[in-house]
Subunit: 330 residues, 2 copies
């Protein structure tokens, strides 16, 4: 398997060594009520407890730590208004690398502040008139900064794969892993690790309604570009998966299933009051897929990659208020 693919399990083991003592070995949580509801045993790999609040730190740190001394001194640049920005900013801070993050000027002020809080230089651009790739590319040329792509990069993919490697160390006998699909970096790395550790495991990706470029791509056998998606799951609003991630996903994924925003919100309205964990909409995407029984019933022991917890407090407030939900927990 690994001969044909751009990332090997050995790459992921290498990433795990680099991340050891740096990234959090995030806990796996369970819920008796969720298991009863779904008729399965579900294991939540809580990347919402990862440094930076999402799995993104894994790939970013694995990528940045392998830069040459010269590249490190010139710094890195990334464009993102979300978790990739924070992952790169935090990894850069820990490694003493200058970081510039290109973000739209209408990004929530709290996200701009959070990224600055990690010590990164934030460069804003006008979303209507600016071109973030061009700005990042210009910075890269002018300052010699290394561009850190969000997903289509072997070292980023290898870093993200450590999430599934840990999960299978923590819970060895899983039948399936269910993960959100944005650009495909997370699920690609996780697929390689999981299939190497347990070849019979089934990998399911999950996308939101209107953000199903990955599913379309697998169906057509080529990368499909879609219009900017409008889902609440802001981490998977990508318009196309990458060339590397497409190669890995078409080989290793069993399927991609789809959930609606209402189903994502219902998942949040379960995990927040019941499991007492703060999860962002994207992190609830695979939880929704299991709640809605979108994967075959014979897959009894299911690992769910809860990708992150970086939900804005205003959105959290909206989602939980007036739900009539109490706090029964079991």
């Amino acid at each position: 398997m690994s001969i044909d693919l751009p990332v090997t399990f050995s790459d992921i083991r290498g990433a795990a060594e680099r991340l050891c003592g740096v990234a959090n070995r995030t806990p796996v949580m369970t819920s008796r009520t969720f298991d009863e509801m779904t008729g399965r045993e579900v294991f939540f790999k809580c990347e919402n407890f990862q440094r930076g609040g999402a799995f993104k730190f894994r790939g970013a740190y694995n990528r940045l730590s392998q830069l040459s001394a010269d590249e490190k001194s010139r710094g890195v640049v990334a464009f993102s208004s979300g978790n990739h920005a924070q992952g790169v900013a935090l990894a850069a801070k820990l490694l003493g690398i200058p970081a510039a993050i290109v973000m739209p000027d209408d990004a929530p002020p709290v996200k701009l502040e959070a990224t600055r809080g990690y010590g990164a230089e934030v460069i804003v651009y006008d979303r209507l008139t600016g071109n973030r790739e061009a700005i990042a590319s210009q910075l890269s040329q002018e300052r010699g900064m290394t561009l850190v792509p969000p997903f289509n990069d072997t070292r980023i993919i290898a870093g993200q794969g450590t999430a599934a490697m840990e999960l299978l160390e923590q819970v060895p006998d899983l039948d399936a892993i269910v993960s959100p699909v944005g650009g495909g970096g997370l699920i690609s790395g996780c697929s390689i690790a999981a299939k190497a550790m347990k070849p019979s495991i089934q990998i399911y990706g999950v996308e939101a309604v209107g953000a199903d470029d990955g599913k379309q791509s697998l169906q057509r056998g080529e990368i499909v570009h879609i219009d900017p998606p409008n889902t609440i799951a802001d981490g998977i609003r990508t318009q196309a998966i990458g060339t590397l991630t497409f190669t890995i996903m078409r080989k290793l994924l069993r399927d991609i299933v789809i959930v609606s925003d209402d189903e994502i919100i219902a998942a949040l309205r379960f995990v927040i009051p019941r499991m007492k964990i703060v999860v962002e909409p994207t992190g609830a995407v695979p939880i929704a897929a299991v709640m809605q029984n979108r994967i075959p019933a014979n897959l009894k022991r299911v690992g769910v990659i809860v990708s992150g917890g970086n939900i804005g407090m205003e959105l959290l407030s909206e989602i939980v208020q007036a739900t009539g939900l109490g706090s029964k927990t079991d």
Copy 2:
């Protein structure tokens, strides 16, 4: 030590055996940012992840599992509008014991529903004209039900003590444990376990402004009754600690410190967005005490008992909304 006290470490070890495989061995979480802010290493014992959403299940299950077959068949009664109700209801359900919970008719509907959701019979009374003790006592007499007190009971105290026993197994070398004080059941059990496992450990209780009956009691050397407190921390609105808990607390506590509601809210506004955990106001009481440096600076490795996570979603919504808080996590 244990000779003079009504509960021994052996009682707590016995409780731990009864709870093994039944109660959750809750995780201990940490936050690099919290440690930097406070200049300490702080270990959060997350009883918000306990079954029933709070430590109360430990004591309730330890108490109920030791009833005779005859007592079990007649059932149990408790009065509480909070976590004790849910703890007793859940323990009773697991043990197949009928349970009646006496709750005020103006309790939040979600709390009534949650308690019924665990299979308990909920008996409501008029808070202005009714007397919950009298109602519970009448049920106890008429039906032969065993009254399960919330804190002033050796087996309840022993059960709660398993929280600190686990914490010191998970993090052996703590300098101090900080715990909320309501009726004193939690801190009494935790003190006995912790002092037995590490005699040099310092135990600090925390109460809210206006709910400082425990502190007054320790200062005067007798149990002081106060008017109904008005703090947001509804789990510690007790008007007096118990005779058993007073005996233990005056012997083993280093001090009780006080936090304000604003400080409790500030603690919630740290842990929810930053640590991605849902905590109820009472669970944030000891976190607030550490944030505000209410314990001596030389205590560097501090265990905090996060007592529960049963916050109503409307209150959660109010607390997090418009805080201007982002989701930076580290």
